[in-house]
Amino acid sequence: MSTPSATSDSAGRIRAAHDGVWLVLLVLGTLVTLALIIRLSGQDPRVALDALWRGAFGSRSGLAATATRAMILALYALGIVISFRAGMLNIGAEGQSRVGAALAAIVATGVFGIWTARLSVAGIVVVLLAGMAAGAFWSLLAGWLRQWRVVPEVISTLMLNFVALELVKYFLSTPAILRSAKSSEYKSDYIAEPLRLANWETSFHPVLLLGIAAAVASHLFLFHTRSGFALRAVGLNAIAARTCGIANERVQLASFVLSGALAGFGGALGVLGLWHLSSTPTYADYGFMAIAVALVADLKPLRVLPVAIVFAGLEVGAKSMQGSAGVSYWVVHIIEGLIILAILVRGVQVFEKSKIEAQSAEKAVA
C-alpha cells in the first residue's frame, strides 16, 4: 500500500504506472473471458457485448440505473475499505445493509411513517440516521464478540449476515412489524411520498453526489487525519501500534461502527431512492459484491467509485443482455469470481502484512 507521500517520489510513480497497466490487463482479460463464455454458450459475443454496453450506459434510464446501483455499491465498499484498512476482515456488509434498510423502512412506513413524512427533509435525515444506526449496531455486535470473547470477526460477520437475512424476512412476514397488508408477497408498504428521493431510475438526483462526497471524505479521513493514521497503523501492525500508544481496541471498534454505518446508509438510501420499500432479501447480493469492489480498488477510497460503476454496469448490462441477446445473466457471477481470483494472485497488501505478522508471531512463540 503506497502511502500518500510516496506517490510524489519516483518509486510511487512506478507503482502507480504498474497499477495502471494491471488495471488495463484486468479489464481486457475480463472482456476476453466474457466473450469466450458467451461463445461457448452458443451466442455471438459481439452482439451480446454490444447489448451489455447499451443496457448499462447507452440510454438515459440505463445510465441512471447504473449510477444509482454504483453509489449504493460504493457506500458498502467504502465501509469494507475502512474495516480492512484497520485489519478487520468485516465481511458483514450484506447483513448490515439489510438491517439498515429494514429499520429505515420501519421508520418510513406505517405509524412512524406518518410522523416522518410530516417532517419532509428532516424526516429523510431521520430515516437515513435510523439506517446508519441499525447498520452500525449490527456491525458492532461482531466487534463486541471479538473484544469480549475473541470470536474471529470473519466467522461472526458471516453468521450475522444470515441471521440478518432471516430476521428481515421475519419482519417482512409479520404484519405488526413491516409486512404490508396490501401485498401477498413478503413486502413492506411503500414509503410516504414526501420521503421519496426522486425516482433515480428515470432522472439523476443530486443525492448521487453523496457517493462522491463519501469517497472523498473516506480518503481525507484515512490519509489526512490523526484517527485515520491510527486506524491504518493498527491494520498494518497491531502490536507495533499498541507499542506506540494507540488504543487498539478502541480503533478496531470504531472501524466496525464506521463500516456498519456506511453499509446501513447505503441500505437506507436504497429504500428512500430506489426501491421505496423493503422486500425479501436474496442471497449473494451487493454486500458480497462490494468486497470485490473494495479489493479491485486496492482499498483506496478514491478508486472505489469508478470500480463500483464498472461492477454496477456489468450487473445492469447483463440483465438487458439476457433479454436482448439471450445470454444468461449468471455469467456476471462467473466474471466476478474470476476478478476476485485475479486480484488475489496479484496480492492484497493488507493480507501480506497480516501474513507476515502471523509468521513473526509464530516465530516468537517457537
Partner: protein, 302 residues
Amino acid sequence: MSGMDAAMEAILRISTPLLLAGLGELILERAGVINIGAEGVMLCGAFFGFLAGWGSGCPWIGACAGMIAGVFLMLLFASFAIRFKADQIVTGMALNLLALGLTGTGNEILRRASSIAPQAVTFEPMIPSLSHLPLLGPLLFSQTALSWLAILLVPALYWYFEFSERGMELRAVGENPVAAEASGISVLTCRWKACIAAGALAGLGGAFLTISQTASFSDGCTRGRGFVAISAVVLGRYSTGGTAAACLFFGAAFYARDAFPSLNVPTELVEMLPYALTLVALCIKFGRSSAPAGLGKAYGGS
C-alpha cells in the same frame, strides 16, 4: 411405518447433505484451512451430479461426477489459498460466486436445449425388504446408499482423527504447522489432500440433493446448506461427534418446521437457528479453545 419411524427416517435424509459437507469441512478445518466456499462446492456437486446422473441414467455416475466437480473446485481453491497463499476467506467467496455463475449459466443452457424439464434417475432405498423390521428397520433400511455412507463416515473419521497416525499428523498441521514441518510432515501436501477430501465430500453432499432427493436442479438449490455445514463444525467444537450431532440437530429442526406447520414457529426463525446458535456457542467458552490454532493462516514464507 409409524409416525416416529417416519420422522427418524426423514431427519436422517435431511441431515445427509449437511453431514457429508460438514464432515468434509471438519477435515479441512482440522488441517488449518477454512473454506467459506463450501456452499459453492455443494452447488457445483449438485449441478454436475445431476447433469451426469441425468445423462447416463445411473445415479452412481452422478454421485461420482458430483464428487469430481467438488474436487476440481477445491483444487482451484488450493492453488490460490495454499500455493499462492492468498487469503482463504476471500478465495472462498470467489468460489461461491464462481459456482453460482457456472451452475446458473449451465442450467440456462440446459433449459434452452431441452423442451421438457430433465429429471435425473435417483437412488433407490438400500434394502427395502428389511425396512419393515421393527425399531431400526425403517430408519436404516429405507435410506439410500449415500445416507449410509454419511453415517458410516462418522465413526471412520473419529477413528482417523483419534487413533490413526495420518489423522494425528493432520491435526498437528492444523494446530502448529511450524512444529509439524519440523517433525517431518509436509504441511502443504497434507493441506492439499485435505482440500481434495473436503471437495469430494461437499460435492457428494450437493449431488445427494439432486440425485437422491429431488431429481431436478434449480438455481441456487443448495439454499445455504454449505454455510450451515460450516456452522455445524464450529458448533460441534471441531470434533467429529459434535459436528455430526450438530448436523443431525439442524436436520431435526428443519424437519420439525416442515412436518408440524401447526406449531406456528416462523420458518425464518428456524432457518436462523444454525447461525444464531453458532454465535451463542462462540460466546460460551469452557475448557480450552477448540479451534485449531493455525486455522485460516497461510503457511510458508512468501
